[in-house]
Amino acid sequence: MKVLKIFLIVFLLFGYSQLKSDEKNYELKNKILKNIRCLICQGQSVYDSESDFASSIKLIVNKKIKEGMSEDEVYKFLREKYGDWVIYDPELNKNTYILWLLPLLLFVAGGAIIKKILIFKK
């Protein structure tokens, strides 16, 4: 009876951890899919699309997560196949410097102009 109890506890704990891990993978998969552009759709993420391309990407992302790939590794894998365009959130590299730095530049320049005007008014 005691052995049976121990077995039951171990079994439940194992089942719970497995369930937790599946839930974690499911959340990670959805997070990744929402950040991948469906390249054959108009303005849709892979998560939102039901196209053949999107469903294949969904399968492959699931497979890569199960193989132990991290979020960044999945993005890297897709970037290698389809380029930076496939990810909604582009990484900072020589092709995206302007994209990332221009808003910051505009913000600084705007702030400087406003400051100048305020000083001038005083």
């Binding site: 390249l39 053949d52 391309f53 469903s55 399968l59």
Partner: protein, 173 residues
């Protein structure tokens, strides 16, 4: 003097912004994939269409030769259009054709091959489309040219035509 410097800086900044946005206008807002690529062949395991046995990618691309990977399906109308050109390409001794049967019914695929001919040295089954993703494909038909160093050097999205055929022949010459 100070005001003049400020004005010049502002002007330079505006010209800079204008140039960026003006250049952006030239870019098409439809995604156009790069056709000249240099990428390693993916490593994969797939099922052979004829024998229905598992096969490694290393075995598929074992020969010291140029390879064409053509993604096709029996339900794909443009694939029928490009098929005679693939049959012609098959006659070229310095190139081997590998077919990737994409999300297809195997009976229909077999009927397609029986009706239009088999230009491929090997056909792999891609039931769920994930193998095509490993190659970086968008759909069907799509064709990849692989050089002797086992690198994907060209990608042709859509059906191949006479011009593409000549381009491939020129590269593998």
């Amino acid at each position: 003097m100070k005001n003049k410097i400020n004005l010049i800086i502002l002007l330079i900044f505006l010209i800079f912004c204008f140039t960026i946005f003006y250049k952006g206008l030239d870019n098409p807002n439809i995604y156009t994939p790069k056709t000249n690529i240099q990428r390693n062949l993916p490593i994969f395991k797939a099922k052979d269409f004829i024998t229905n046995t598992n096969i490694d990618s290393a075995k598929v691309f074992a020969k010291d030769s140029y390879y064409i990977v053509n993604i096709w399906a029996s339900w794909c109308i443009p694939c029928r259009k490009e098929h005679p050109l693939l049959m012609e390409l098959n006659k070229n001794q310095s190139i081997k054709l590998v077919g990737l049967n994409y999300r297809d019914n195997l009976n229909n695929a077999m009927k397609f091959i029986n009706e239009y001919g088999n230009p491929y040295t090997q056909i792999l089954i891609d039931k769920d489309g994930t193998l095509a993703i490993e190659f970086g494909a968008y759909g069907v038909p799509e064709t990849f040219l692989i050089d002797k160093n086992k690198k994907i050097i060209k990608k042709f999205v859509g059906p191949i035509n006479k011009k593409i055929l000549e381009e491939i022949k020129l590269i593998v010459k």
